[in-house]
Point group: C2
Chain length 259, copies 2
């Protein structure tokens, strides 16, 4: 099984069968998405939160209450991601590979753009993506930047970090800025302290990655931000993906490219 | 009083004092916005409708329930537009210049991008805008294109039309495509029948405008679409602007320009 040769459907079948792995590098050329499913009564507040924070929360699709697939995702949202996190009153209570028995009729699922989507164009532009080379999960951090609140939802901006060679930073900006629906251009380049990140070697989510000689850490807004908002805001119930373990959609990366 | 020399604040003061006029050409350089205010219990469905139909319904701002101003609009949403339309169960029941006594604590106001915003850049690019020259309201039409429904909301796409000289159509596309937050590039160029518009001289909203020799009708998605959705979907209560009688915001046009 070579992740780079899988179709979205085949990748989802493997995850459904129990393969538990970060999805970076899987089914290249197809967009990946973050999941956050919330009860209908919290859905307006969250949709407004996403609307007000489009860099971390670019909405790709929203289901009707109770639906288990989406127009961009032909699979089953309850089984076809590699892993899930379940929150009750803001507490992370479980991590699982199947949430079929927890899916409620009143759950509205939000699919939110993921920066894994622009990694294929980055690689095609010759910009190295270290965590794919290393076969690890991307490093993600909670920052000291607060999102704009909406109704009951508030919380910090979460970012993903990729070390980029100094002479490729401009290319990384140029390429990713063409994909605003999957977080777009970086929110910060360089000193992690500017985002309140004390230690790059201790990410809040995912795996650490070394910043090599001649490289600079580059930070993009991250679709784990909704889960940080769930932690901060404590809605009664929520289901998210396990960070880095995304929904592989049926939509081509190029669909989300702007000129 | 020269509309082209007013600040947003001064324009709003005139409207508050009773001036009832279409706002095209007012306070040039500042973005204008469509208004639709709906009860909180319908707000999620509408926000999702807007999310699913970003060409006609690009959201600039959403208020908390009961608020009467917005981050993009320093005035009073109940008095500072030149005219309003009031809907009860989908029926247009009143047109007024002040809705203070009708504003409810549970109303959520959505401010939606308006194509008047890109008319200044059009004029600066030498593309004529006929209805400004004529001092009339822009011509708007319901089309045979259905929006993507969401919850209780469905309805047709509404468009605005500007006649453009054949050799300036490319410029009109190029300039307006830089402003996706205020409807962006045209949805249709040429034959009105392609949108199901039988007679250009009979717009559904606003004033007719002649398509001259050597000109072609160019159609942009229009922020009256939410009011057509109110008509089609019959929420219990809604307040919109009178078509063409917009909220003049405090935000510069250039804020909404993308590269």
């Amino acid at each position: 099984m070579n992740p780079s040769e899988l179709t979205p459907e085949r990748a989802r079948a493997l995850f459904r069968a129990g393969l538990e792995t970060p999805t970076s590098g899987f089914a290249p050329g197809y967009a990946q998405a973050n999941l956050i499913a919330l009860p209908r009564e919290a859905a307006f507040d969250f949709l407004l939160f996403a609307q007000r924070n489009p860099k971390p929360c670019p909405i790709l699709d929203v289901t009707e209450p109770g639906e288990v697939s989406a127009s961009v995702f032909g699979g089953d949202l309850r089984t076809d991601l590699p892993a899930y996190r379940v929150y009750r009153h803001g507490e992370l209570t479980e991590e699982r590979t199947d949430v079929t028995d927890l899916w409620r009729d009143d759950l509205v699922a939000f699919l939110i753009g993921c920066s894994f989507t622009f990694e294929t164009p980055l690689l095609e532009a010759g910009v190295p993506v270290r965590h794919i080379e290393a076969g690890t999960n991307v490093a993600m951090y909670r920052t000291n930047r607060e999102c704009r609140p909406a109704g009951r939802f508030r919380g910090p901006l979460v970012v993903s970090m990729r070390p980029i060679p100094a002479d490729r930073v401009a290319d990384a900006v140029r390429v990713t800025s063409r994909y605003p629906a999957v977080h777009g251009a970086p929110v910060h380049v360089g000193d992690p302290a500017g985002l309140g990140i004390a230690d790059l070697s201790r990410p809040d989510y995912g795996d650490p990655v070394e910043v090599g000689e001649g490289e600079i850490p580059v930070f993009w807004a991250c679709g784990v931000t909704p889960q940080a908002a769930v932690t901060a805001s404590a809605p009664e119930f929520a289901i998210g993906h396990a960070p880095g373990h995304m929904a592989v959609t049926d939509v081509r990366d190029s669909f989300y490219q702007v000129p």
